[in-house]
Symmetry: C2
DNA sequence: CGGTTGTTTGACGCCCTTCAACGAGCGTGG
DNA sequence: CCACGCTCGTTGAAGGGCGTCAAACAACCG
């Protein structure tokens, strides 16, 4: 039973810019269905030319690239509200892969209608650009993290960002944030080895700053964490929802 | 004396998707002037809310972010054809800084007209999204480089990419590519220390793979370079020109 | 109960950083 | 004209953060 756009659980969250009723109707027309996938399922593959675009409705995943020798770089994590497949939408093919970490449900859009949608809804087209610009900005921050921050800074920064994003979409309850990823995923986010990631996490736990176990992330000392992360304290940028 | 869009030296390069005459005319209308700046001049500052957008017409520069403790991460290099300021165009402010490395001349667009332009030219709006998606893709590749490649791989990869991009916009003559950056810039691109960058470059030079001196980049052994860089050999993605 | 996946811990070593110093090129001013 | 300062490239030495190797442990499952 597909969710109707006007009942979308996301578009009321204040992370997203609010949509006018007619825009919701437009999205409803653009939306061709809903997809539900199990943990571990690949959604889009590097080099594929998917006929579909998605926005994550529920669940979490990750986008990654693999070098030819098998090393993997996680580009970013996929949260509810993320738009997936823009690259396939405008370029010929995907340049990275996307896979589900938890069970996910996604709104499905028809790529063939993408251009029509864009032409008929310039406001939404603008929002698409906006979205891409936000993505670009976030990747720039990740670059700065991997390039400049030490392992503990980087891990602190990443956990903080995950927590905040989770808060913004209502995933946090009682200070508990679902954290379904593996340590290996976090390591591949940051270009660190699994072992070093593990030990650094252990140190953060000992210092009572964050605890991450059994798929739950908890922040025990927000102040120390933000300081360690060298977070610049800028609020999470608002973004459109597709 | 401003360059007219229809005489733009760039839009015939095959890196860019070609523009129809009426699109050129539209760009001409959107363009409010031309800016010429000296090496070292900051063009956009992090946190600024610039009223202008640019596309680089001639010259080279770089985009970077600085952490609060002064560490700098170069997000990417700016080449002719790059569109600058999209973030300020859709979000409130710039999230990184841009500065000129060589003398640069840029086409200037009025940010206030951005939305109108977008609405009146859905095709160009689409191209804007396309551009942002290309940027995002390139940042993803940089992430993989910084995160996964070793210093010599990363440096090889970066030099190779610079050379190819230079070729694509006609900057290479006789196998010589202008390389106006400092070693510190390259180091800040890759999250490496200046010293290590220098020594790694020296090793590449000794092995007769690339030589970079006096602002000129030369590739002596393209095959070895591509192999070292673990380049996946995909062609440079075509992109729109604004 | 063996097999698998993910976390944890220890030992060892290297890639890379940091500190330090020197040289080359160049513009400035005495 | 040369001394001086500044920037940038280069090189050596020392140390540490992080990677690699290896193994043990816990949880889950057929």
């Amino acid at each position: 039973m597909a969710t109707e756009c006007k009942n979308c659980p996301l578009h009321t969250k204040d992370l997203f810019v609010s949509l006018k009723p007619e825009q919701l109707a437009e999205m409803q027309r653009f939306k061709v269905g809903e997809l539900s996938i199990d943990p571990g399922t690949p959604l889009l593959m590097e080099g594929s030319n998917s006929p579909q675009l998605f926005t994550a409705l529920r669940g979490m995943g990750l986008r990654y690239k693999t070098l030819q020798d098998g090393r993997r770089q996680v580009i970013n994590l996929v949260f509810p509200g993320d738009f997936i497949g823009l690259q396939a939408g405008v370029m010929k093919e995907m340049k990275h892969s996307v896979e589900a970490t938890t069970h996910m449900t996604l709104c499905v859009f028809d790529r063939g209608e993408f251009w029509n949608f864009f032409r008929n809804n310039p406001e939404r087209g603008f929002d698409m650009t906006w979205l891409a610009a936000v993505e670009e900005h976030l990747l720039g921050e990740s670059l700065a993290t991997i390039g400049q921050r030490t392992a503990s800074e980087a891990i602190a920064w990443t956990l903080l960002r995950i927590y905040r994003r989770g808060e913004a979409v209502g995933l946090v309850t009682n200070g508990h944030m679902p954290m379904p990823y593996k340590q290996q995923d976090l390591a591949d986010c940051l270009g660190l080895s699994l072992v070093h990631t593990n030990k650094t996490l252990g140190r953060l736990r000992e210092r009572q700053i964050v605890s991450w176990s059994e798929g739950q992330l908890q922040i025990n000392d927000m102040e120390s964490l933000a300081e360690l992360a060298k977070d610049d304290g800028e609020p999470m940028p608002k973004r459109p929802l597709m």
